[in-house]
Symmetry: C2
């Protein structure tokens, strides 16, 4: 009728070892109270005499006690943790986004666990599985493939509240928060044509990601709507290197277009770098626009005119969507689009 034999190879040697962490049990014993009282005193969520509360706190402090979130989590059925899976943490865009996400989550008392899928579907599946097995409260994911990510993301969504961020999986019934890519591309094109440009080329990510598709479609639609000449666009990955390659391709094709609409800032930076090396002047010879509004846009020379994503709003919307899903698991799925804005800088000419 007792709680079994307590392990005895601990407790005495404790001080020298140090690394074997102090348990609530030990704090309670040292304070001369029951483990329940110790728990209450420390969490403060329940009635305890101010005196014992203080005493227990002092003892805990002296012993260097730290709650074991694993124990608490098991009991509570959950730790207060949210997970996020991004394709490449080293892309400044995701770095900035995570930054904001963490801010908003912190306000609501959640910790953020970050995982990197390296843009690989297999790895993405692994990371999502890990988060599920950790029993995180919710998951944000930037799917690495608009189609191939389906199974893993869909399965995860049945197990835990999930919100797709920035990119989405085609036909997946799950919440999504991202920028209005159509509006963004339109802003860029409107700005360029206002300055007199008519021959535009899109250099962007391919159809593997939803973002790539949307920006391509937006570009094609807008060009058609404005009856601009149709040129051959170039598609690849959202990498600096791709931007450089694309620029070289354009140069080899003959006469340059009036303007190059890049799929993101990274690609735009690559394009500009390659053009300058070929002694092509931006914006007088050819104008360039970016997308995202990362620090890269400010580092470029000339500084990049770019479609700015509202990072903070994006993060706020995403957290809101997730908490809504947590509260109402059966609410209808929402696709939330935040409006981008255009930041005009030096890579597009004012010299009409």
């Amino acid at each position: 009728m007792e709680s079994g034999c307590r392990r005895r190879h601990k407790g005495e040697v404790e001080d020298s070892v140090k690394r074997a962490s102090v348990t609530l049990h030990e704090v309670a014993a040292a304070a001369g109270v029951s483990i329940a009282t110790a728990s209450r005193a420390l969490t403060g969520k329940d009635r305890v005499s101010a005196q014992t509360a203080e005493h227990v706190a002092a003892v805990a402090e002296r012993l260097g006690y730290r709650v074991n979130l694993i124990g608490r989590g098991l009991r509570a059925g959950t730790g207060a943790t949210i997970g996020v899976v991004v394709p490449v943490i080293s892309n400044p865009f995701y770095g900035e986004l995570i930054h904001r996400l963490e801010d908003h989550l912190q306000q609501r008392g959640f910790d953020l666990v970050i995982a990197d899928s390296h843009g690989d579907v297999e790895r993405e599946r692994d990371r999502l599985r890990m988060l599920v097995e950790r029993r995180v409260e919710g998951v944000f994911v930037v799917p690495s493939d608009a189609e191939l990510s389906f199974d893993a993301v869909a399965d995860t969504a049945t197990r835990v509240p999930l919100v797709q961020l920035d990119r989405r999986v085609i036909d997946l019934p799950a919440d999504f928060v991202g920028v209005d890519n159509h509006r963004g591309i339109e802003l860029a094109i409107a700005h360029l044509t206002a300055a007199g440009a008519t021959r535009l080329v899109l250099v962007s990510g391919n159809d593997v990601t939803s973002v790539g598709r949307e920006r391509r479609e937006a570009f094609e639609n807008t060009v058609r709507a404005r009856a601009l000449p149709r040129k051959e666009n170039i598609f690849g990955e959202y990498l600096l290197r791709f931007g450089e390659e694309a620029a070289r391709t354009l140069l080899s094709r003959g006469p340059l277009p009036d303007a190059i609409v890049a799929g993101d800032d990274l690609v735009a930076a690559g394009v500009i770098a390659a053009l300058k090396r070929a002694l092509v002047h931006v914006p007088s010879d050819v104008q360039v626009t970016g997308f995202d509004g990362t620090m890269l846009a400010d580092v470029c020379e000339p500084r990049l005119t770019t479609v700015v994503q509202p990072f903070d709003e994006l993060a706020r919307e995403a957290v809101e969507a997730l908490t809504r899903r947590m509260d109402q698991p059966d609410a209808p799925y929402v696709l939330s689009r935040v409006a981008p804005s255009l930041r005009v800088a030096e890579s597009t000419s004012a010299d009409h």
Copy 2:
């Protein structure tokens, strides 16, 4: 003599609710075996008949079972998790570093939990505490302050294997892995002086971080050793904006130096941007070097000559140091310095 009353408001409704995850208990029941056998069958670490193993696996699959890492962690006393605290995840340098860390840890079966201290000592303390309470196996930390981070980092180090990364806390008895800043600055200066530059100015982070101190000391020492003229250096934060301000300050001072040695790529990019706006040509009017070797160096125009940190080696060394500390908690502390290299590009002239 039984295992108590098992909760009964579950199990039957399960299918519709879905979100209440399947337990090992339920798998065992459905498979008609004991929970112990189910556990063995699934982990595969113990003897089970191939037949039951297969059967259990099938049932688990059908039920959509996922281990509860919280439960396993409590039992095992630990989950296989490593934590890392960085000052700013949106700095490409840390993004890249985390990327590599994750790679090396994955090979050893560890998950990485990333936390952002925003360069704030209070927040850093919070994040470290969170990791300790989660009972992570080990911690990497890039201390945000060479002195004020002492208490929190020191305390954490007594509780869990810890390795300081990139930056360190002064006089803290704990492992450290970082680049050889002295060597790096020397490489930059040697390159610049070889091209004939003599009047050098350092524009770098202040003494708040160990990196700032070391690069400043390295610069001062090298300048002295080479008997170069001493100029007034400029110190601030590792931000794009600081680089711009510093460049303006230099311009207002009168004649420019032969070369500007920037504390990192971000600062260098800011310096270059501001110089170009003032119609100062790089490298013919003034040369500029960076530090880190991030993608920013390639985005700059002209491309930045920079001291490249070997990210992969850094990460590998760090993981090695951590596992060593985990295996031998009482081994002497080591300060590991990896050697940087110089990547010469366009921001320093070859036109001697």
